[in-house]
């Protein structure tokens, strides 16, 4: 046993070093948010001499943080809802029903996993205009939902397929209808997969700034990343404000993550083993 001590020590050293590497930039970011620009340049690593809160209040007001935050929440939740509902339905059909074209349809969805929809931004814009959806949250919600579906179909099809074959036949013999089998029997069993899909899509949708950039022109509809990039572009010489803005933009996701970290990690763990 004693021979293992050096090994354990080395393990701890490596893990600790990496933890510092991960956390230090974020800690410095947060500390800098309380300093003045001059102090950031002169004393970048230490604690702030005076903890200044006005950087945050300026960002809050001048960057219209609350508004952008709410817009991001609405767009993200609505997109996830569509992805989960439609993705589960399609995954169920592809994973449990043998029909001609099953493989082809599955591959078709899979192709969406590899292709950046950004390649089609100009036609997509024209489409949104024709549907009169430009400058509405729906332009974003539909784009995110459609581009999130492939991952949902991919993950959920795998999960549905892995469920025991006699489950639905048993239910069917009991006289249950298709919807009931799906909703009552199958869906609860793939709940972990739904978590994975939600988390898998949550982060890119929440963080996206490309589509709002093109689709949204009204300030009151801007999402957080777009609002923040505009803010960063405007105050690029004021580092104190920049750090405060960065911190404020990072806090919601970090808070959610700290609260639900086990779900985040468990979801991804299950996804990787399953996938």
């Amino acid at each position: 046993m004693t021979g293992r001590w050096p090994g354990k020590l080395a393990t701890q050293a490596v893990l600790l070093a990496n933890a510092v590497l991960v956390l230090a930039p974020m800690v410095i970011m947060a500390l800098s948010a309380f300093k003045s620009t001059r102090e950031i340049f002169q004393n970048p690593f230490g604690l702030p001499v005076v903890w200044r809160l006005e950087n945050f209040s300026r960002v809050w007001v001048e960057a219209r943080f609350a508004l952008y935050f709410r817009n991001s929440v609405v767009v993200t939740l609505a997109s996830l809802l569509i992805i989960l509902v439609f993705g589960a339905m399609a995954g169920y059909a592809l994973g449990r029903v043998r029909f001609a074209g099953n493989d082809a349809l599955y591959l078709y969805f899979l192709s969406g996993l590899m292709l950046p929809i950004r390649l089609g931004i100009i036609p997509l814009f024209i489409l949104m205009r024709n549907l009169r959806l430009l400058d509405t949250p729906w332009a974003l919600i539909l784009t995110y939902a459609a581009s999130g579906l492939p991952s949902a179909v991919f993950i959920l099809t795998g999960f549905f397929r892995a469920l025991p074959a006699d489950l639905d036949s048993a239910a069917r013999i009991d006289g249950a209808g298709e919807w009931l089998i799906f909703r009552g029997v199958m869906l609860p069993l793939v709940r972990p997969a739904l978590v994975i899909v939600a988390i898998y899509n949550l982060i890119p949708i929440w963080n996206d700034f490309f589509f709002p950039l093109v689709f949204i022109q009204s300030d009151r509809l801007k999402t957080l990343p777009l609002g923040m990039t505009a803010f960063f572009g405007q105050y690029y010489t004021d580092w104190a404000l920049l750090f405060a803005g960065l911190t404020l933009a990072a806090v919601p996701v970090i808070a959610l993550y700290v609260l639900l970290s086990q779900h985040f990690i468990r979801g991804l763990t299950a996804g990787a083993v399953k996938g």
Binding site: R70, N71, V73, V74, L77, A78, L81, I121, I122, F125, I126, R129, L134, D135, T136, P137, W138, L213, V214, Q217, S218, T229, A230, G233, Q234, Y236, T237
Partner: protein, 419 residues
């Protein structure tokens, strides 16, 4: 219970936010005016208020976008048949890209009589190359200059240099006194193109070379040009040791915080410098010529134009506004508020620094790539910016830069074919 509550919340949030955008106001015509000048919004709002007071039936909303995203947003909007009524457009090739496919309303002297008085040089930047028609009202002329910090110059005991050798001597003195001579950096290629716009013309011979290269009598492989490029390398020791990582924002900060004595940049900085640091004592000089006593060349260009969307529903109102931007009154406000040289003729310049810029313009030469070689991709600017970064990083010689630019341009500039 908790589930229902959550669903309810989501639905509520959705419904609350999905109300259609506010309907267009009845009565007044509402024009939108898109621009990339985020930092000038306050000034435009004030100038627009003057217009609205004169024209009670028309309201104008100034909507600026970030410069880096402006083209994306504008081109997607115009492709889709939308976009603003009034468009802040670039000049020369940057205008052509929107004008040639018919997205911009051509203007006539009858519609905007004020345009007759504009200088030919300014109007060149508002003309479509294909059809020769005018597509906008030029708004400003910009000049590439060298800013200097008067206090730091005095501290180091140096004055404004009269020749290139003096220029280098001044830089050396500053460096020896522990002052960073130049704020300039190379992380953003366009700031190097600006630097070349200041340094090169005196060595390649200004407009004579410009005319020769435009006519195809020579190319950028000309020793006159590559020799001028080599002069830029002579400034390298006087830039920040890690200047290749210095971006535009850092350049501005270095000069504003009085950490660097000189800043090679455009006349558009004057207003910004003044607004950011009221105590900064600065002035400008033209990049020095080879020998003392020669009058130096400065690069200048039409910065852009105000144009009208060909698909606007309010053409008359939009043209009325465009006319307003061509008046002496607008030009004067523009110059006074933003400390930039309005394109409108007859504007009186009060700002002492801007006055110097105006004086230098007596011997102005076109800012070569922007005026002459931005008509098709790959543009001269694009090619030059990348090549300059390589040159300043020590990866390419001036001759290689000249080669690369000439070769790249030959894709669409006939006279360079086979050179």
């Amino acid at each position: 219970m908790r589930r229902r509550w959550l669903v309810g919340l989501v639905v509520l949030l959705l419904v609350a936010t999905l109300y259609p955008a506010s309907a267009r106001g009845q009565g007044a015509v509402r024009l939108t005016f898109w621009s990339w000048r985020t930092e000038d919004k306050w000034a435009y709002d004030r100038m627009i208020r003057v217009f609205e007071q004169r024209n009670p039936g028309i309201r104008v909303e100034f909507v600026p976008f970030r410069q880096t995203e402006y083209n994306t947003i504008l081109s997607s909007a115009l492709t889709a048949g939308r976009g603003p009524d009034i468009i802040h457009l670039r000049a020369y090739g940057g205008l052509e890209t929107f004008a040639a496919p018919g997205f911009i309303e051509p203007l006539t002297f009858e519609q905007v009589p004020e345009l007759r008085t504009f200088s030919r040089q300014m109007l060149e930047g508002a003309r479509g190359r294909k059809d020769g028609k005018l597509y906008g009202v030029p708004f400003a002329s910009q000049t590439i200059v060298i800013y200097y910090n008067k206090k730091l110059f005095a501290q180091a005991g140096v004055g404004v240099p009269k020749s290139w050798d003096e220029f280098l001597a001044v830089a050396k003195t500053l460096k020896d006194k522990g002052i960073l001579p130049f704020a300039n950096g190379g992380k953003e290629g366009w700031t190097l193109e600006v630097m070349s716009g200041a340094i090169l013309p005196n060595f390649y011979g200004g407009t004579t070379f410009f005319d020769a290269v435009m006519a195809g009598h020579t190319s950028f492989k000309d020793p006159a040009y590559t020799g001028a490029l080599a002069r830029m390398l002579e400034l390298r020791p006087y830039l920040h040791p890690n200047f290749m990582g210095v971006d535009y924002a850092t350049m501005q900060q270095l000069f504003l915080n009085e950490q660097a004595a000189m800043f090679i940049g455009g006349s558009w900085e004057i207003g910004f410098f003044k607004a950011q640091n009221r105590n900064l004592e600065f002035d400008v000089f033209a990049a020095p010529p080879p020998k003392a006593g020669q009058v130096p060349w400065v690069s200048s260009f039409n910065d852009g134009n105000y144009g009208v969307n060909a698909k606007t529903a309010y053409k008359d109102a939009a043209i009325k506004f465009i006319r307003f931007t061509a008046t002496r009154e607008f030009g004067q406000m523009f110059t006074d508020l933003l400390a930039q040289m309005s394109a409108v003729p007859g504007v009186v310049i009060k700002d002492p620094v801007l006055k110097h810029v105006q004086e230098m313009n007596r011997k102005a030469t076109p800012y070569i790539m922007l005026v002459g070689f931005r008509w098709q991709a790959p543009t001269g600017s694009t090619l030059l910016q990348s090549a300059l970064q390589a040159m300043m990083a020590g990866q390419k010689t001036p001759e290689q830069v000249g080669d690369e630019v000439t070769r790249g341009l030959s894709a669409w500039f006939e006279p360079f074919r086979g050179r």
